[in-house]
Subunit: 196 residues, 2 copies
Amino acid sequence: MDYELTRKDRRVIYDGKILTLYEDLMQLPGGREERWDFVHHKHGGGACTVPVLEDGRILLVKQYRPMVDRETLELPAGAREDPSEDGSITAARELREETGRSAGVMTFLARIDSMPAWCDETTDIYLAEELSEPEEQLLDDAEEIRTLAFTLEELLLRIFRGEIRDGKTVAGILAYAALRRGIHHQLCHHRRGEET
Amino acid sequence: MDYELTRKDRRVIYDGKILTLYEDLMQLPGGREERWDFVHHKHGGGACTVPVLEDGRILLVKQYRPMVDRETLELPAGAREDPSEDGSITAARELREETGRSAGVMTFLARIDSMPAWCDETTDIYLAEELSEPEEQLLDDAEEIRTLAFTLEELLLRIFRGEIRDGKTVAGILAYAALRRGIHHQLCHHRRGEET
């Protein structure tokens, strides 16, 4: 190609509460110039947990999301208090606030970019195990959240039915399933080995 | 609670090329009113495929994403041509344009909301199998895309290392892994049955 995709100019359209909207003048690989909308998310990304109870069930939070006008089932999640905050700190705080529980062990599962084509928001996903007994939720007055527990099999069914849709939640549950089945997968190979 | 989370007023801040930005006046469950930023994504959502070759490798597309200033590995994906377009049509078109291949079989895997807290963008994810031999890519002059093939195991490693981060791509690869391992899981149970 003669050109690379390059930003030639940027103007701030709106500097909002949680995001800054830019209109960028981009030079396309073909050479033509085009204006693109870009969203910078101010909180420096968020974090969430896949909280697994002793009986293997997974805790999700149910809440009304006005933008999609639906109640959603999501992993407990929230924004960093400042961009330098480690995702595991954010994730642990949101777990405590939304479910009343603390985790004895946190394990990094994945980091996702929500929509890298036009936004820079990221979410770190952690596995949360050895959970404490629940204490009272610590919700702000914007939050009305119920905590529900589901088996992994039930959650996989709901994902493949398109019922659980939140991106970080689908990614986190499936990442946990891949780890779990990965272990099982190895056990199976070991068992086959014994058969020969 | 005395109140529910309710939108009391909405004003359009910016009506852009791919998105509309709103500032909504929300009444919080606690009763207080607060202004929230909301992004409506105009293309009515997108769709992507997990394209699986005969040898089991998965095709991803590599491209530079200015918003995150990185080259990303993503599932072939794109926007609906109009909001009424079925996601499987969108997914098939983008697979053809970005990889040069067509799928003999498409299977719905999941639908994800990128970030339901503040945006209404959705992406439908399909498994694409029985792929044709590659023909020429059909890229517009904004696109500079390379196609690369990886084994599922390699992709899982890259996800758990935080290297593959695009939300729809992490969700789609892990959804395919859950299906694959699910079948394997049943085979293992069957094998155990034979042992008894």
